[in-house]
């Protein structure tokens, strides 16, 4: 793997995280528990898709094969997607959705903050815009996690279940990145180095939410190498439907 391939892989991993989670969040549109949240969730989804677009566009430039953001988002096969398993998990109930958002957005807030100092000017530029958006996602999802965790008996039980269900997908965010050693220093953030700050942030929210930290469980990974859960195929079927049915369609 040369430097260009390593950078391409690194960019696609993050871009795919945002596309897939953006799609998952967009599934709430029209189904949120209240009107206010029905606007808040698509707002977050649109931020995520915007971040994905910027990253795909740059990935296409880095690749240099003429692929556009649309080609990368809609015309790859399942095994070519490099997203975390966490973000492709089905939405489940509102507790699952908000906890997943908190986990990912807290990770990305740290990631974007580090990437603001990237040696690559384009990555630094994308990060400067995204870091503000992700700060709001953390704030919004954290407030919900606190209210559900420290809410009714029902909401607390559902949040506890979400903590248990999503526990196996946490480690993958911080797994050592095999492209890091190939890249020039200071190109992309070092994921394992973000772990301590992330743990501290989540612990603060959990403490306020009166949520018990999850019991360490065997982690599940594979997304970064294109090995996905069975739900991923269904997600891509819907995501790619238009471009697969009407290739090259524009509007």
């Amino acid at each position: 793997m040369n430097h260009r391939e390593a950078l391409l892989t690194g960019l696609l991993r993050v871009a795919d995280d945002h596309l897939i989670l953006g799609h998952r969040v967009s599934e709430w549109c029209g189904h949120a528990p209240m009107l206010e949240e029905d606007l808040a969730l698509p707002n977050i989804a649109l931020d995520l898709l915007g971040q994905a677009r910027a990253l795909y566009t740059y990935a296409g430039e880095v690749e240099g094969q003429g692929r556009t953001e649309d080609d990368l988002a809609y015309l790859r096969r399942e095994r070519e997607y490099r997203n975390l398993l966490l973000v492709e998990r089905p939405n489940g109930d509102f507790a699952h959705t908000m906890l997943k958002q908190l986990y990912f957005s807290s990770f990305m807030q740290l990631w974007w903050t580090a990437a603001c100092g990237s040696a690559d000017a384009t990555i630094a530029g994308i990060s400067a815009k995204a870091v503000k958006e992700s700060a709001y996602h953390v704030r919004h999802s954290a407030e919900w996690v606190i209210r559900l965790g420290d809410g009714t008996q029902e909401s607390a039980a559902r949040m506890a279940q979400a903590v248990e269900d999503l526990a196996p997908y946490v480690d993958e965010m911080f797994a050592p990145d095999d492209v890091g050693s190939t890249l020039a220093p200071q190109m992309l953030p070092d994921n394992p180095a973000l772990r301590a700050s992330w743990d501290a942030q989540i612990a603060t929210v959990f403490s306020e939410a009166t949520i018990e930290p999850h019991v360490p469980r065997a982690s599940i990974s594979g997304g970064r190498d294109g090995r996905h859960g069975e739900e991923m195929g269904f997600l891509l079927t819907e995501l790619q439907y238009m471009q697969r049915s009407y290739p090259g369609a524009q509007w």
């Binding site: 209240m34 009107l35 206010e36 949240e37 606007l39 808040a40 707002n43 704030r139 919004h140 407030e143 209210r147």
Partner: protein, 94 residues
Amino acid sequence: MTDETPLWEVFIRPRNGLAHRHCGSLHAADEVMALQAARDVYTRRGEGQSVWVVRSADITASDPAEKGEMFEPAETKVYRHPSFYDIPEDVGHM
């Protein structure tokens, strides 16, 4: 639902130098969530520099039935309008 998420009134200041204006209402569990919902519902197109939220129940409103005694006495006091003096030309458009 409304017991857990009472009604809030939203006020937005569009630019520096302008006053906050009432722009609508929403339901939220508390003031923190109300402020976030206000941001998501009412500032989607860059409308705001600042947002206020206040519990609708905390607003004391005039009674429409008392409209007569509240507002009619002002209707006949035309001298309160600043239209009884000449504006010097040098002032220009006011």
